[in-house]
Subunit: 144 residues, 2 copies
């Protein structure tokens, strides 16, 4: 995914295209495994040694507001971020706190079908995501 793509996305949302925004957006997309603000800051410091922590938080918030990123949290630790590319679920490793994306259209269809038949009274469903907790049972590094 090219830098131009990120610039485009920002423009489409009516956001000013600043080097910081591009860098942060790119960082979240490139850093797999749902980086924390801290991970992002580390990563960016290479090219933007003077970036301010406050800026990173502010940019992350505005990217989330504009639905270019998503926040992800498990029960254990701090806020993490995810570049939304498609509907997906999360695998949480209860041992290592690793978070990994899980995409499964067949499953999505089953769940969508289920909720189109069975409504929840007093609640309008917008989005469903599964939190699948368990353990990675090998030591392969699940990065793409």
């Amino acid at each position: 995914m090219t830098t131009e793509y990120f610039r485009e996305q920002l423009k489409l949302k009516g956001l000013k295209v600043t080097p910081q925004r591009v860098a942060i957006f790119e960082a979240v997309a490139n850093l797999r495994n749902h980086p924390t603000a801290d991970h992002i800051i580390d990563y960016i410091k290479n090219n933007h040694p003077n970036i301010s922590v406050g800026t990173v938080y502010k940019v992350l918030d505005s990217l989330v507001e504009n639905q270019l990123l998503k926040k992800v949290k498990n029960e254990k630790d701090v806020m993490r971020y995810d570049a939304i590319l498609q509907q997906h679920h999360h695998l949480y490793c209860s041992k290592t706190d690793q978070i990994e994306d899980f995409v499964d259209y067949e499953l999505d269809k089953i769940i969508t079908d289920y909720f189109s038949k069975k409504k929840i009274k007093g609640f309008k469903v917008k989005e469903i995501s599964l939190q699948i907790t368990g353990e990675f049972n090998n030591n392969s590094i699940h990065t793409k």
Copy 2:
């Protein structure tokens, strides 16, 4: 649910039965809608005006460790606690940040069946919970 029940539960886990532990455990069970540590402290201060914040956090941690409580988090705010241990899902209101339990055995069966057929490579599933985001479309207060 009587106080005696909470004392029993603590004993069964080999935890010393202290007034603070009973009060905190009871508070989480009585306070619906997944209280934060702060909610719990407020609630408890009525009967235990001198309880220490550190104690509340320590007790909550040990109750979670002993599987008498669960931690719940959404993308927005601080850690919340849940006294319900039966398998259930959560409805998150994107407007009000309200969290509500959602129990649906039929759905659970569908999902369990699905994952018993289709394995995720390299990952051993322990628990699946749905995060259903949407909006409560009436102003009924969803407490029992």
